[in-house]
Symmetry: C2
Subunit: 520 residues, 2 copies
């Protein structure tokens, strides 16, 4: 899958640039709010154009790949749109990853320029020491509210830059890494068309109010956050940007800044409720909050019931990077009647449950398959993985679920071995690979353990080479340099044997039963 | 342009059937209301399937062309969706046309089946006398609220019918006749994609509320009415169907049936205001009416001001059949600030004003050009007319307008010679051709005359052959068998010469000046 192919494939739809249209149609309408900073659409478009100019001076052009290592901020929003104006491709980096993981992604995506925010500048500098050929700059939000690159691009390098007036729905907007059962992260190609169709599908399901304001506390480097930036420009609505999740700050924005929709994962919603409860027991949110879009894995039923009791309009959704976030969403009208369901596929999406190569009957569990214009065309430079995941346009998600008699989706389990911890996806194979790189480890198996706060946390089981010895501390210190902190196993158990099937495949689901026999 | 070409062209998007999705997502939600009749989406889908079954038994199949001569009714809505299930093509016939005009369209569209409602059954029967090979049936809404064909299709003719699960956006949904400067009506190909993109563009501009209810008093055989049927299924919202326009009945629906959006032309809105005024001077509409979409030609400013004074949310739009209704629409926020403007192009649409082959400057008048996925791929069996109208994807509308400094469209004049009378398009060339078919007439010219009620009415100028004589009455009686009543000239003037340019082209704009010299 080559993103450098001509960006105007036959049959593609070209649409007038979304942000530019907003700047023309609703120039004074609030586009971005973050604390005291407020940008209208005219201002956001201007910031994006200015930044695009600076990026062009650094040599960014159509097809360039620009990695962004940054927390949520208005500058992130401006940068996403600046790259669209240049027809360059965004590679959003997860700030929680280890430098080893980040370096791997920079390499795999053949990134041309690494941008970071001031908070990540030190890490970016360290990443550059072993990649001296990689250009870099710091993305700064100045006290006057303008977005600038540091160092400023050289004056001599004057590239003429003309914003692209049209967006080709077939063009790649971002490359977003997600791991899989193999443990090796893969770059999911995210096209403008996926964003467009997802935004439209979401609007058809949730409605679209001209005064909507979508609160973004999910990181923009995840698909659930990035799509908020795109929806804002497609719909012409405001984003309320939170640099990080803070339950009190989020509640305060909801109450006083006109937030109508918020995307959250269960652990966030739980903390928002706790903060709300500590202020005013039994209270809910003001009526203008019309949708709490709850994604990131199955939600605990007590949480859903607590929200229902307070009249909080929770709408559960099932999404994944390959489907550009939401694939199925419960409609607000069904929120109570179908509590616990992820609803029905978005209007442009087809969804099937398959078991043993046939469509499952209602109530019968099987793997969730998706098809439609919100689904990725494939993985960057991974033709085999693309062929395996996408057959006849149908994406094999690896997730398990069933449809009830009325066709409502219930997700039973994310990809058989996926661990979801506080909304972050953790792939056991990645942790296992890191454990196996320790000289004393012969075999490793990782699975999730229920956790009241995070939903799940990873735990590890290792078998050592005969005659070798090591400690939990030594293994954790080995992992710390290789893995993001949230991926570190909460416990490491030393065992004499791991459960495997007859062909030697690790049976991760049987790992918990080892706890009875664990050696420490 | 061949509508029989494969319906799954490369690069086309396939979407799950819209009505079927509504029947699954919102089965109990009100889909159609008309007086006492109320159909939920589940019921509408069932009616459409039943009717499709009957139509299949009559031999209708994918690609069949089915003409429908009927007033607005729930049966019309069911029939439109039934044809989608069969992948057959709708040819909506204007009930106001003469039988000569209708016969011509049946011929030109190579219609396979003529459906009519009971009120049009006599006319349909007369149309069939000279076309004995054409199949026909009457579309009936039974007292129990079911839709049936009369006569019932033969029991023996059992065609297996499977509703198509997906809609191909490239497939032709309807062939809708519109005349042009040539006077010969042309069949505009209306694809599902045009409907989809128009509906989405409209929703992005006007917002989409899950409890929206769109009142349809514009005839379904016009694009402004037909698109309401499609939007209802794309959005999952209700239609309130009015068989014909009656100001009191429309006002009553607005007040008591939860109407949130209504599409009207100026003469309708004027009468609604008059009816409202007679009941309660100075009153407006309840707040749930959030949009009065005003199309069908430039609106008189006093009407707009009267609505503004009453807080009636009028949104002006500029549309045409070739653009699947709305091409530019004023956003509600600008309704007062830009009174008289048709607003800005819908998000998926590009709009340019061109004068002398270049883009006009702000404020400079020129011809309106449109491009985008809401624009027709062309005219049925008219490759030359298609090439002339569509160059590089840009539709030359023939309409004149300008953009102000902020890019808002002001339509000065519809196609130089188009007459818009009570929202109906009247093409002078058509009336001229009918006049010229009278043996005494040597030359004929038709233009519009301002009219306080209808906006415009047609008037005619004729030069007789030397030595011939006739009367206004004789000419009108000649026209009556050939033209719809609303196209009959309000006055016919006998003149010695018609204004023509050096190449002999009729200068219709100069016709009014002849009134000073008219012979009667």
């Amino acid at each position: 899958m080559d993103t450098d192919s001509p960006q105007t494939a036959a049959g593609s739809v070209l649409l007038p640039d979304w942000l530019q249209r907003c700047a023309e149609n609703r120039p004074q309408h609030l586009a971005v709010q973050s604390g005291a900073l407020r940008w209208s659409f005219a201002e956001l478009a201007q910031q994006a154009t200015n930044l695009a100019q600076q990026l062009a001076a650094l040599g960014v052009r159509s097809g360039s790949r620009v990695a962004l290592l940054a927390a949520n901020s208005p500058a992130y929003v401006a940068c996403v749109h600046a790259l669209t104006r240049l027809r360059a491709i965004l590679v959003p980096l997860n700030t929680r990853l280890s430098e080893t993981e980040l370096g791997w992604q920079l390499q795999d995506a053949r990134v041309n320029l690494l941008l970071s925010d001031p908070g990540q500048a030190d890490r970016a500098r360290r990443l550059l020491t072993v990649r001296p050929q990689l250009a870099s700059a710091i993305l700064q939000l100045r006290p006057d509210g303008s977005v600038e690159l540091d160092p400023s691009p050289p004056q001599t390098h004057t590239t003429t830059f003309t914003p692209a007036p049209l967006i080709d729905l077939n063009a790649v907007q971002a490359i977003m890494y997600t791991s899989g059962t193999t443990g090796q992260p893969k770059g999911v190609l995210i096209t403008y068309g996926m964003h467009w169709w997802n935004a439209i599908g979401s609007a058809l399901n949730l409605g679209l109010h001209l005064d909507d304001c979508w609160l973004a506390c999910l990181p923009f480097f995840h698909i659930g956050g990035l799509t908020i930036i795109m929806r804002s420009a497609i719909y012409g609505i405001s984003i309320n940007v939170h640099e990080k999740f803070d339950a009190g700050a989020v509640n305060s924005s909801i109450f006083s800044e006109g937030v109508t929709i918020i995307s959250v994962v269960a652990v966030m919603l739980q903390r928002m409720l706790e903060a709300l409860e500590s202020e005013q027991p039994g209270a809910g949110y003001p009526a203008h909050l019309r949708c709490v879009l709850l994604g990131g894995g199955p939600a605990p039923r007590p949480l859903l019931e607590a929200c229902a009791a307070r009249g909080i309009p929770v709408v559960q959704t099932y999404g994944l990077t390959e489907a550009c976030s939401q694939a199925a969403t419960l409609s607000p009208a069904d929120a109570l009647r179908k509590l616990g369901s992820a609803g029905r596929p978005l209007p442009p999406v087809q969804l099937e449950i398959r078991q043993d190569g046939r469509r499952a009957a209602p109530g019968e569990a099987g793997m969730i398959y998706l098809k439609g214009p919100t689904i990725t065309p494939g993985y960057l430079d991974r033709p085999a993985a693309t062929r395996e995941a996408l057959q006849d346009g149908w994406l094999a998600t690896g997730d398990i679920g069933y449809l009830d008699e009325e066709g409502y989706l219930y997700v039973l389990d994310r990809r058989s071995d996926l661990i979801i911890s506080g909304g972050e996806n953790i792939y056991p194979a990645e942790i296992e690979a890191a454990l196996l790189s320790h000289p004393a480890v012969a075999e490793a198996g990782v699975c999730g353990q229920p956790d009241p706060r995070w939903g799940q946390v990873p735990i590890a089981f290792v078998r050592l080479h005969p005659g070798q010895s090591t400690s939990t501390e030594s293994l954790l210190s080995h992992l710390q340099t290789r893995l993001a902190r949230y991926k570190l196993p909460r416990a490491i158990y030393f065992v004499g044997e791991l459960p495997r099937n007859s062909s030697g495949k690790l049976l991760r689901r049987q790992l918990p039963s080892l706890l009875d026999h664990a050696l420490n």
